[in-house]
Amino acid sequence: MAMSIKLNNISYSYESDTPLEYQALHQISLEIDDGSYTAIVGHTGSGKSTLLQHFNGLLKPSEGYLSVNGLKIDKDTKNRDLNALRKDVGFIFQFPESQLFEETVIKDIAFAPKNFGMSDQQANEVAKKAAKMVGLSESLFEKSPFELSGGQMRRVAIAGIIAMQPKILILDEPTAGLDPIGRKQIMDLFYKLHQEYKMTIILVTHQMNDVADYADHVIVLEDGKKIADTTPRELFKNKQWIVKHHLSLPQAMEFAFELQAKGINFEKMPLTLSELVDELEKRGIQHE
């Protein structure tokens, strides 16, 4: 079944019908294809988190409607109908370790699968599998999640969502506060899920390198409005536009622009580090 997400003119207001009403999203329409890797970027307060919470029905649009997996959600949709949707849409929040509560690591990872109807034994199996995928060693399985280090807790929380075997995975700055090695491992894991299991991935990030390295579709939000909806290559090509909207370029592209200013011309602006190396090698520039 197609798992695409379609948004049709969605607006969302917090505390609507009170004098404190605040409109966080303004008439957003967009489409996220099945099996794509979409990055959503924008400054703090641009409405990214509000938008994400629509994708699994935590928020319902004040105006407009969206359809996820063929289920139409508008302001009158019943909460009961949304529970089935949440099985297919995994949501990894910012600092997800704050959702841990069970006695042991494995029990916590098995919590969501059990909620969505798996038997204890099945849930235990998928939990163990997910724990191994995120790189938790078996000796930790029976420990309390509160005894672990911050990085390990993050992995437990992420495994808890992966164990649901969702078809769409929503990531809200999943690597904030992790060390560089942990960051890379986690981001590579998500990419592997995308490649091997054809999971649709929606990533909110401030790291333009991640956008360049992993995403095939990028959406830019500003003040609750969609201001770009394109591919990373198209987005970063236009340096003036990036500067005007106070975004930054991926490192490789930034470097390439600097080289260009010094007289080295590129046929195709390199987006990632490996593309940059390839382009430079073509010109016979070897690193020493």
Binding site: E15, T18, P19, Q53, N56, L58, R80, N83, R86, K87, V89, G90, F91, F93, P96, S98, Q99, L100, F101, F111, A112, N115, F116, F146, G160, I161, M164
Partner: protein, 265 residues
């Protein structure tokens, strides 16, 4: 979750906003006392006028004050009904068993209604125009004399302001954790009582853990910056008594005199 009016403060720069929190807090309590002096149309009219002046001077939309009344409307209506049907005396208009509807009863009911509304409006006026930390400062200043009775005034005030400070933080945290657990398939407010109670555990445990972590961080941060209790401690927010505060108290004295004159009118 955000329907709670407790501590809901609206930033502003009106005359009422700028008043000293001590005078506002004292006069809010005083108002609740003198409201019992009112016993006829004129005296209630005086108090209504006072409340109206307060609302106008605060420059806050009147709809906010109605929002404060709505959660208590059933309590008010119940009390009013008791007054209306069980006040003896006066001309009986209608009766059924122990219930009698008399003119005195209706008048009493109307008075009780206005008494409730006035008290709510005045306390809402206090919380809308005074930041929670200002109220905590005012409480500290007003209970200061108790330190001669060996009451730990500073510690009580510190606990109060920390508690007030963390109400919104913990509410945000609760919403966040609820969202995370909903995404993991927890259904709140559905199913049997037992499953509903079970659904609370995945919220309460993370909430406690994060509250304890926060408390520890806060304690470390305070000690790192040399906090060691209230002795000789100066204030960042210094409260200043202005002419307008004296004016507020004089207004209340005049109102009290007017009430005393007109209640026997």
């Amino acid at each position: 979750m955000n329907k709670l009016l407790l501590g809901r403060y609206l930033n502003g720069n009106s005359l009422i906003h700028r008043m000293d929190p001590r005078s506002k807090l004292m006069m809010s309590f005083y108002f609740i006392c003198i409201i019992f002096l009112a016993n006829n149309y004129i005296t209630y009219a005086i108090l209504l006028l006072l409340a109206l002046c307060g609302i106008v001077l605060s420059k806050i939309k009147i709809s906010f004050f109605f929002k404060g009344i709505i959660p208590l409307i059933w309590l008010i209506l119940f009390t009013v009904a008791l007054q209306v049907f069980f006040t003896p005396g006066g001309h009986v208009i209608w009766s059924y068993g122990p219930l009698t509807l008399s003119k005195a009863g209706i008048v009493n009911g109307v008075y009780v209604f206005f008494r409730f509304v006035l008290i709510i409006v005045m306390s809402t006026l206090l919380t809308l125009t005074t930041a929670p930390l200002e109220i905590a400062d005012a409480v500290e200043a007003l209970i200061k004399p108790l330190r001669y009775l060996k009451v730990p005034v500073h510690e009580i005030a510190l606990m109060l302001s920390i508690a007030l400070r963390f109400v919104p933080t913990l509410m945000d945290e609760t919403v966040k954790i609820m969202n995370a657990q909903k995404s993991r398939g927890v259904n709140f407010g559905e199913g049997s009582i037992i499953s509903r109670i079970k659904a609370v555990i995945p919220i309460l445990i993370p909430l406690f853990v994060s509250a304890f972590n926060r408390a520890e961080d806060l304690a470390v941060a305070m000690e790192a910056r040399g906090y060691r209790g209230g002795d000789g401690r100066t204030k960042f927010r210094v409260m200043k008594w202005h002419l307008r505060d004296t004016g507020l108290i004089i207004t209340f004295i005049i109102i009290t005199i007017l009430l005393l004159i007109f209640r026997n009118y």
